[in-house]
Amino acid sequence: MIMKCKRVAVLTVMTALCVGIQLTPRPPNVEFTSLICFLTGFLFGAWFGGLLGALTMFINGFLSPWGFAGIIMPFQMLGMALMGLVGGIYRKSLGENFRLSKTLNLEAACLAAFLTLIYDIITNVGFAILFNVEIIVALALGVWFMVVHVVSNTVLFGAVFSSLVKVIGDLAGENVWSYQKEIL
């Protein structure tokens, strides 16, 4: 029961953090939510990360300064949930004793680029299906937003991922890894 409360608290805090950052004025398609969801998935488990991604995009859909997301919202939730899920899966693939190094940053950057692309493809395809636009046209029209999104996330993950893992690991102590086991 106590652990469940902790999980709820962590999820709430992380969601509030993500939504807060989402609502902060910023250039279009430069965002930190992907990093936080991936990192949460990495630290607290795949399902937890996925849940955070979906919840954040759900709330963001109503409060976004770019307007109500409307029927695109489920696609955004799916894309961001994927980000958190893969964070957890990536953590599992590293095994118990992984080292925080530049390689980790580089790998995280590669994953971020791929996942961001998938996220953008999912949302654009969703848009195309819902508004009866040809998929290739929807993708091609949004390509420069996609490029900005992919490049910014790649740079962000490549620059800070391992540092954030270290900082949060140090702050939370060894408990951080136990959350994941409990959730999974």
């Binding site: 790998e107 680029a113 791929f114």
Partner: protein, 193 residues
């Protein structure tokens, strides 16, 4: 070995992402090119239509110019024919006591042997009364300005030798004009001697 496999997967993902993005950029440019091509074709059609319309207009204009030239030539010939039957005079209308306005009608073409009253009627609306006793007409009004009180329309001719205006000494319809003569109507209180 496992690390290498994961690295390979990461490289593959990065490569896949790059290829996808590049393909989408290329697709975007292709769509843009296609759109521009369509716009270009549309403008080309518009341009051709415009050229066609312009050519039609130019042809019409040239025909019109040709007609104008032809008409001008006819009129010039006609004018040359009548050159010996016309003369030119300068007529001045001075509204003096009325409002002080002075209007000149230079190079007014009138028939040879025309009198002042006929010439004035060519440039203004004249009301006159014929007096059989004098066998002459008396001008009552010019352009709606009527003789009133002590003010009358009087006429003058320009004496080229003396370089001064000389009072007309007969009725306007009794005075026959000569070529290049200068005449004046003045609305005034007469000081005729």
């Amino acid at each position: 070995m496992e690390l290498s496999k994961r690295n390979l997967i990461m490289v593959l993902l990065a490569w896949l992402t790059s290829i996808s993005l590049l393909s989408l950029v290329a697709a975007s440019y292709y769509l843009e090119l296609h759109k521009e091509k369509q716009v270009c074709e549309k403008y080309e059609d518009m341009y051709n239509e415009l050229v066609e319309n312009y050519t039609d207009l130019l042809n019409s204009y040239q025909n019109l110019v040709q007609k104008y030239e032809s008409e001008k030539q006819n009129l010039t010939e006609l004018l040359e024919q009548y050159q010996g039957c016309i003369m030119r005079v300068d007529i001045c209308i001075d509204y003096g006591e009325w409002n002080g306005t002075v209007v000149w009608y230079n190079n007014t073409i009138v028939p040879l042997g025309c009198n002042l009253l006929e010439a004035t009627k060519k440039v203004a609306i004249v009301n006159s009364t014929y007096w059989p006793a004098y066998q002459a007409s008396f001008v009552d009004a010019i352009n709606g300005v009527w003789n009133q009180g002590a003010c009358y329309w009087m006429w003058y001719r320009w004496d080229t030798e003396e370089n001064l205006w000389v009072y007309g000494d007969c009725g306007a319809d009794r005075y026959t004009l000569t070529n290049n003569e200068i005449l004046m109507w003045r609305y005034e209180i007469p000081s005729y001697p």
